[in-house]
Symmetry: C2
Subunit: 319 residues, 2 copies
C-alpha cells in the first residue's frame, strides 16, 4: 500500500468514525433508525475525502475540515435516500434502500432529517459559518435542479449530449465542486484560487458521473452494491444512450424495445462495445479527469499533489 | 374592521407579496413549477404573522423580521408538502396537493427545494445568522421528530393523552415557539425573556393543534380547504380519539369498525358531541391558549398587547 493509499484509508476511517459518533437520540425510532441505517452504510466517502485533501492543500484547520466533510457527506446521503425513492432503486451500497426496507414515508422523513443534520453539523463550525452555509445551500438547490432535469429527461428522446452534460454538472458536479472549494472558502481564500478549486471539482464530478454510467454496464453488481442497468430501461439518459440514439436510431430502437431482462442488458452492453460508443464515452470521462488535473497544475502556491493522486485513483476505479 | 384586524391583514398581504417576489428561476420546470404552486397557495400565514407581532414587541428591524418570517413560512410549507405525501392528503388550502397534481417524486423534490430556499432566505439576514440558523435547524429536527411520532402512533391503541400532547408539541408547538422566539433571539435578548417567548409559542401551538383537530370535525370542508375527517379513519390520534377509546372502548370500537364513509363521519361527530368529549377537548385547547396569555401577561418591559390579541383571534377561528 502506498503512502497515498494509506492516507485515503485513514481519512475514510476517520470520516466513518465521525459519522458513527454523530450523536443521535434513539427515539422516535421511526426517524432515527433509518437515519442511522443510511449514515452507517458503507459509502466510498469520495466527497469528504476530496474535501479533506483540498483542505490539506490550503492548510485548513482539521476540525473545521471534518465538520465541512461530514456536512457534505450528509447532504450526499440525503439526496441518495430521496433519489432512491424517486428512481425506485432497491439496493444502495449493498444494502436494501430505506423506502424498500421500510416504506416511502419513512424514507422521505429520514432524508429530511439527514439534511437537517447536515445543517446542524455546519452550524458547529467555529467561524465563517455564513459564507460556508450560503455556498452549501446554493449547492443543494443546484443538486435539486440536477435531479429535476434527470427526471424531466426520462424517456425524452430529444435530450442532447450538451443537455446531459449540463444535468450531470448540476446533479454530480456541483457537490464535488463544493467539496473542493468549501475548505478554501472557509480559509478566506478569494478570487482565482476559489474559482479554480470549484472548477476542478466540477470537472472531476462530470468525469466521475460519466465513468459511473459506464460502470453501471461493465462492473459486477455485487461489487457495486446496487442493481445495474435498470437506469437505461427506465429511460434514464447517459452519454452512451444519447450517442446510440443519434448514431444508430433503428438498431437502438430495436434493442430497447425488447423486454427489460438480462438478455436485453447483455445486448445493450455488447452494442456499446461493438459500436465503440463505450470507448468514446470512456475517453470523454478521461478528458474531464484531465481537465481537472490541468486546473490543479496551473495553480500556484498550493501543493496539489494529493488532489492529482485522488483524480488518478477515481479515474481507475472499477466499482 | 378593528385596528388590529387591519394590522393582521397588512402583515398577511406583505408576507404574501414577499413570497410572490421570491426570485425563482423558471427552469427546470419539474422543480420550480410545483415550488411556485406551493408558495403561492393561500395559507393563513399564522406563523409569519406571529413572528412579525413578536418582533414588533421587541422592536426588531422590519427587514430582518421579514427574512425570519419567510424562512419560517417556507419551512412550514416544506413540511406540509412532504406530510401530504406521507398522509395521502389530496387537498390543501383549497388546492390539489402536489403529489396528487403531479406525483410523489415531484412533491419530494419540491419539498426539498422549498426547505433549501428557507435556508437561503435565512442566509440573507444582515447579522446573527449563526444563532438564528442554529435555532431554526434544531426546530426542523424537532418537527421531523413530531411527524415521526405522528406516523408511529397511527393505529396504535396504546397512545395516551400525554404521548399525544408530546407529539403535537414537537409537530406544531416547536414551529410556533420558533416563530415567537426567533425575533427576540435576533435582537440579542437573553434569559427569561427568551424562555418565555418560546414557551408562549409552544402553548399557543398546542392549543392551535387541538383546536385544529376539532375543526377537522366541525368546520365546513370547503372553507377549510381540505378534506375533513379522513385522519380519524386513517388511524391518526387526536385527544378526542384517545378519550373515546379510553372512556367508551366498546362503543368507540363499533363506530370506527364501520366502513369509512360520510355516515361514519357523522356518527363520530355526534358521538363526540353527545359524550361531551368535544367540549372537553375544546376546553383543553382553551387552557393552552390561556396559559400562553398568562406568560405574556407576566412579561415585563415589553408590549405584548398585539400578541394577546393574536391568541384571541386564533382561539376564535372557525376554519
Amino acid at each position: 500500500m502506498s503512502n497515498f493509499d494509506r492516507l485515503i484509508e485513514f481519512i475514510r476511517s476517520e470520516v466513518n468514525k465521525s459519522l458513527k459518533n454523530l450523536k443521535l437520540p434513539n427515539k422516535p425510532t421511526y426517524l432515527y433508525q433509518p437515519i442511522r441505517y443510511a449514515i452507517d452504510a458503507k459509502g466510498k466517502r469520495f466527497r469528504p475525502i476530496l474535501a479533506h485533501l483540498s483542505g490539506r492543500s490550503t492548510n485548513v484547520d482539521p476540525d473545521a475540515l471534518m465538520n465541512i466533510s461530514l456536512a457534505i457527506e450528509l447532504l450526499h446521503s440525503f439526496t441518495l435516500v430521496h433519489d432512491d425513492i424517486m428512481d425506485n432503486d432497491t439496493l444502495r451500497h449493498g444494502k436494501i434502500t430505506i423506502h424498500e426496507k421500510w416504506d416511502s414515508s419513512t424514507a422521505i422523513l429520514a432524508g429530511d432529517g439527514i439534511y437537517t443534520l447536515a445543517q446542524i453539523v455546519l452550524n458547529d463550525l467555529p467561524e465563517n459559518i455564513n459564507k460556508i452555509s450560503k455556498y452549501f445551500n446554493k449547492t443543494t438547490l443546484e443538486i435539486c435542479e440536477g435531479q429535476a432535469l434527470d427526471k424531466e429527461f426520462e424517456h425524452d428522446k430529444n435530450v442532447t449530449e450538451d443537455m446531459y452534460l449540463d444535468m450531470i454538472e448540476k446533479k454530480t458536479g456541483a457537490l464535488l465542486g463544493a467539496s473542493a472549494v468549501l475548505p478554501a472558502i472557509y480559509n478566506g481564500e478569494k478570487g482565482k484560487l476559489i474559482d479554480s478549486y470549484e472548477q476542478f471539482g466540477r470537472f472531476l464530478g462530470k468525469g466521475f458521473q460519466i465513468h459511473d454510467d459506464i460502470l453501471e454496464l461493465t462492473a459486477d453488481s455485487q461489487i457495486m452494491g446496487k442493481s445495474l442497468g435498470s437506469d437505461i430501461t427506465e429511460g434514464k439518459q447517459t452519454l452512451m444512450v444519447i450517442k446510440a440514439r443519434n448514431e444508430y436510431p433503428d438498431k437502438w430502437n430495436d434493442i430497447i424495445s425488447s423486454s427489460g431482462n438480462q438478455e436485453q442488458f447483455n445486448n445493450i452492453c455488447k452494442f456499446f462495445k461493438k459500436t465503440g460508443i463505450l470507448e468514446e464515452s470512456r475517453s470523454i470521462a478521461n478528458s474531464y479527469f484531465n481537465y481537472s488535473i490541468d486546473i490543479l497544475n496551473n495553480l500556484e502556491g498550493v501543493n496539489t499533489y494529493e488532489l492529482v493522486q485522488l483524480v488518478e485513483l477515481i479515474k481507475k476505479r472499477n466499482h
